[in-house]
Every structure is written in C-alpha cells, then in structure tokens.
Symmetry: C2
Subunit: 377 residues, 2 copies
C-alpha cells in the first residue's frame, strides 16, 4: 500500500453507474489534478508516464460507488502546502460525486512537514501529565465585555479546566477588543493557576485578517496565552501550518472547524471526516482538532467521529498524533459513555453544558471532572 | 429589503419537514452564528435584542424547503473579513441542509471593503477597450519546461489573446520554478505585444505558502506581470482581499475556483453559486472570477451560471462589477451561442479547446476571435 517514496496516493470514492463509468471518472481525476488537458494531448514520455496521476486500483465498494487509489509524483505538489491541496482535490472538488477518503503519504512527501509541535504527549506535559481526557471550554457569548469573559475564565480555571478558549466568534470586534481580551483572560487564568497550583491555559482566537493574524499570534504569545485557536477555514490551512512552525511563537494550536463544513456535509463530495479533521490538520500543525461530536446539534455520526479519532491518532510518518476534541452533545450524564468511545486521548470540549449547570462555573467544571473520574481540587 | 445601516442580512435556504421545524432551524442559526449558547442562556438586553441574529422573514419556497432572512449587527462581523465569513456561515456550514443563497449588505458594512480595483471597466481599459468579451487562456500542461510555457504564451499573445494565465497547477515546483517562469512569460508576452501593438497580459499564479504569497505577488509585479491568479480556496479569501488592496501591487486579480468546490456542489449545503462566485469574490477584491461553465466537464447548470453572472455584475454598493470568466465547455462551435447567454461583459476562458485545434496556437486564438466576431490582426 505504501507508495514509492517519490509518489503519494489519494483515495477517492467515485459515484458512477458501473465500472467503466468509474474508470472514466478516475481517468478524468488523474488528468484534472495534474495536466488539465485531454489524454490525447498529453505529451508522451515523462509527463504522460510520471506527471499525470496514476490509477493504482479501482474497486466497487457499494451500489454505484467505487474506490480509486490514484498516485501523484511528490514534486507535482512542490514545496507549497496549498499546491499539495491543489493536487489532492483542486478542481475535482467542484465535481459532484467525488470524495477524498484517504491519503497515503510517504516519508519523502512528509519530510516537508514539521507537523504538530506538541501533539498528545506535548499537551499532556503542559497540563500536568495524567493519562485521562483533557477538558476544554469556551468563553461566551459574543457581546459580553472582556471583563465578564475574563471573570468566566477565572471561574473555569479554578475548577480545574485544562484549556479555556475564546469562542470562535470572538475576534477583534469593538465590543471585545482582541488585545484587551487576551491580557485580561491571561491575567485571570494566571491568577487562578496561582490559587490552584494547576496549569490551565487560555487559548486566544487569532483567526483574523491576513495582514493581522501573525500580529495577533505574536501578541498572544507575548501576553502569556497558552495556545492559539485557529480556524483554517477562515485563514487557510497553510496559515495554520506556518504559525505552528514558528519557534518564536511555539504555542499549542487548537484547530476550529468553522466555515469548513461544506467540505464534509455531503456524503458523496468533499472529504471523509478522518482526512479533513485528521490527516490534513496534522500536516497543518494542529495539536488538537475541534469538531462537532455525534449526538449533538450537528449531524456527525459515531462512525464519522471514529474516523476522526483514527485520523488524529493513527501513525502518519514522523507527524505526532494529536487530540481529537469533540464539542457539542456532551452532557454530564453521557460523559462517561463518551469516554468509553474516545478512550483517554481526547479533549472533551463542553460549552453550553457548563453554562447551563446550576451553581457557579467553578462547580460545573468540578462536576465535569467528577463525571470523568478525575480528582477535584 | 435593505437592512438598517447597522445590520446586514444573510438569506439561508433550510431543508425542513414543515414551517415549525424550519423556524426551529432558523432560530438555531441565529444563535449558532453569534452567541453559540441556547436561547434560555442568552443575557437579556443588548445581547438578546441586538447581537443574536434576527429572523426577519421565513417562507416556504419548495417542498421541504424554506427561506429565512436573518440579519446580524454589522459589528458582530468586526473589521476582519474572516470574522464576517464566520458570522455568515461559520459553524452552520457544518449542518446539513442549510445553504446561503443571498447576502444583503448595506453601505455601513461595505464601507470596510475597497472591493475590486479594476472591475469590468478597468480591465477593459488595460486591454484596449472595446465592448466585447475578453479572451483568456491557460499555460499547460504541468510538467513542461518554463521555456515551453513561455513559447506558448508568445504564440497565444500573437493571436490576440487578452489574458494568459498560468494553469492553476503551476506553482513553484522544481520543474517550473516560479521566478524563472514569470520572467520568461513576461518577456515572451512583451515581445508579442511589441509585434502586435496589443496589450496582452501574463497572469502569474501566486497561490503558494502563507509566508511566500506576498513575495510571489511582489515579484510578479516587479517582473512586469499583468495580473495575479489567486485561489482563495488555497490561500484564503482574505489573502486575496489584502493583495487587491495593496497600492504597490495594484495588479488585476483573477480568482480561481480550485479547492472551493465542496462549497457549491451540494444543492442543499454550502453557498449558492452567485454568492460564492459573485458577492464574496467582489468583497475579496477579484476583478474576474473563473468558474466551470455549463455544458463542460463540470456539473454547473446554465441557471447556476446565470446566478454567477448576476453575482458578478449586479449592484453591490460601491463595489465595482467584475467579469464572470467561465471556463470549460467552450468550443469554437458554441462560442457565439455562449455570447448570447453571457453578453459582452464576460471573459471567455478556453484552454484545451485551443490546444486541440489543428495548426498553431496563434491560429487557434485568431479562430476564437473570429468565432466571437472580433477583429483578427
């Protein structure tokens, strides 16, 4: 299955009436993603033999559904990550009934990617070790003052939360200026950490304008934030990759799924969940990947979430495994059952459930820890 | 229909069994895109009254299909374009059966956007005026040497082509180094322009890494390129917006649809074609928007393409109208019929059709001009 080291393989699911039609669609992908001219115009020799995608296998996998493994020479994707995405699914993303279900990447291609800086083990180290799930929540709602958001952060941190992120809708609006919010939330969480002796992190949303995102990230670092919330659907996958690679920033990155949904909601188009919320995110340097949990207000199934777990944790060359971070659908009643599904290498993200809980936010976090069998301070 | 000047309106199509279910989904959008907490937890006062999205209308538009107009206060989208996209369709993009079909943006919101620098009139001025369609082609296939690509560019330009772009798969690979390609293609097109007296432009693909895209753009400018090819699906919509805004770059921008397909291929999810390939592109500064034409190897319908025409050319505050640029499906036989559909404000993009034509590429361009009733040098 492993491609020769100068090629990588993309597996596509293809909707087609029969094997011959599927073959035709697979051949079209192999051309579209590379030379983008009809087969009869492809120059013979290296371009026809090496540059055009190569159909390695094509098999039926269900009614009117076929699976094609197509390999591409590594250097067609060049050194730029956007060009890799371009070869994987650029124009073919516009064709209905084609879905990327797997990426098989050899060490030659992966050598160009540092991948997650922290990953599962690194994040555990930052948050006091332990083997169980980490806990994450979000500051909300949009419209609160930064003072109120920081007070929330303090209360969450006191209860033993590991990661407290901005809601992804908190950016640099007039009612929640970015720099002030970061400074206030860092101070509030630091103050709680001094009280608890724990190491809770405030994770700042930096998913702003192209010309500001680096400044936002550097400011968050200098102010003492413990992580960055990045929406690759908003700022681009390669922006996240670049941020992860910077030694002078060096903060854990939580990836947020906002504005990426269309890539997975069609069962016949876009990307399989494990590729989109696993493999691509690791190439782009995420240390934890937020996505909508099954059973919540989004439509992901348990099987799709298990595909994400595999995408986050399965071997991927030298790229570290990262935390799947399901959000939504978590209740105090089902947390233990969720742990049975997810195991220990997971970051449980609970927002609304904590805010709804009677009592203080600190008490709510303690109840969340109890539900997971974690010690309560 | 025009919202008060401190709000903008997003119209969503909602798949639901009945009006009550549609109302529930609309209310969920209004919360999800702003405060992201259940209605019962929303603080009364300004947040409940102003920040939460406001459902202005909700009407059935087809079997199990409803249309909701939901308005948001402008400052929820703040000054960062990514945050505008976040409010429009951030998390809701992950819910199946929701589609953004229209944006109604008042001058208050649009004031934050310069929009296209050239647009239809500006591009016409650069390419010798005239009222008819402009012609565009692409250098290909991937794998050719830069010398061969530049020779193609020279031949196309001699025939009277207006815009010659890199194929979107030509980036900075080892077999086609970016800087060398730009220099060679600029020289080849300039040489042809001196022969013809015309003003053909070479359009360089700069859709590379986050940390290189600005350097690529500035290099293209300094080398004398006549435009930039930008894939917002690869580099982000706001990167394109930023590039368009830079007075020291000031090159026309052709937007390419690569890697954006999943946003439109599901009829019930993502974005209507006119929003995605019209409104958003103009906010992001594109002067021309490339997309797959109906009748070609992609599945867009004529009605979807007409929606794109409207999105590119309809009034949008102070933002200039821009060229729709259909590609694929264009033949010498149907060009005249295509002109009947598109009118004059269009850039016809023909790639494979020109390469397939017997004779030289220069002759093929002349035939294309003849098919459109344009003078041949």
């Amino acid at each position: 299955m492993t491609p020769p080291d100068n090629r990588f393989t993309v597996t596509y699911d293809i909707i087609a009436d029969d094997q011959a039609a599927a073959r035709g669609r697979a051949e079209a992908i192999a051309l579209e993603q590379t030379v983008e001219i009809p087969a009869k115009l492809v120059p013979p020799g290296e371009i026809a033999d090496e540059i055009v995608g190569r159909i390695d296998t094509l098999d039926p996998v269900g009614p009117q559904r076929f699976r094609a493994a197509i390999s591409y020479r590594n250097d067609t994707a060049g050194p730029d990550f956007p060009q890799f995405l371009n070869v994987v699914f650029g124009n073919s993303s516009i064709k209905a009934g084609l879905r990327v279900v797997h990426l098989d990447l050899g060490p030659g291609l992966l050598a160009g990617y540092r991948g997650p800086r922290y990953g599962v083990a690194g994040l555990r180290d930052r948050h006091g070790g332990g083997d169980g799930p980490l806990l994450c929540t979000a500051l909300k709602p949009m419209g609160l003052s930064n003072r109120d958001l920081a007070d929330q952060a303090h209360a969450f941190a006191l209860g033993g939360m590991h990661l407290i992120k901005d809601d992804h809708g908190l950016m640099n609006q007039g009612f929640t200026p970015f720099r002030e919010r970061v400074e206030m939330c860092v101070e509030a969480v630091d103050r709680a950490n001094r009280q608890t002796g724990l190491n809770c992190a405030y994770v700042a949303n930096i998913s702003g304008s192209f010309d500001k995102v680096v400044d936002y990230a550097r400011f968050a670092k200098s102010a003492g934030a413990g992580g960055l919330l990045v929406g690759p659907g908003l700022v681009g996958f390669d922006c996240m990759r670049w941020l992860a690679d910077q030694d002078d920033i060096a903060l854990p990155i939580l990836s947020h799924p906002t504005f990426l949904g269309a890539n997975v909601v069609s069962p016949d188009g876009g990307f399989a969940h494990g590729v989109h919320y696993g493999t691509l995110q690791r190439m782009a340097g995420a240390d934890a990947v937020i996505y909508p949990n099954f059973g919540g207000r989004f439509g992901f199934t348990k099987a799709e979430c298990q595909d994400i777990i595999a995408g986050c944790l399965s071997p991927l060359g030298h790229l570290k495994p990262v935390f799947p971070s399901p959000g939504g659908g978590m209740t105090f009643e089902n947390l233990a059952a969720m742990q049975d599904v997810y195991g220990d290498d997971v970051i449980f993200l609970m927002g609304g459930g904590l805010y709804e809980r009677p009592g203080t936010l600190t008490d709510a976090v303690r109840d969340m820890r109890r539900a997971l069998g974690q010690p309560v301070g």
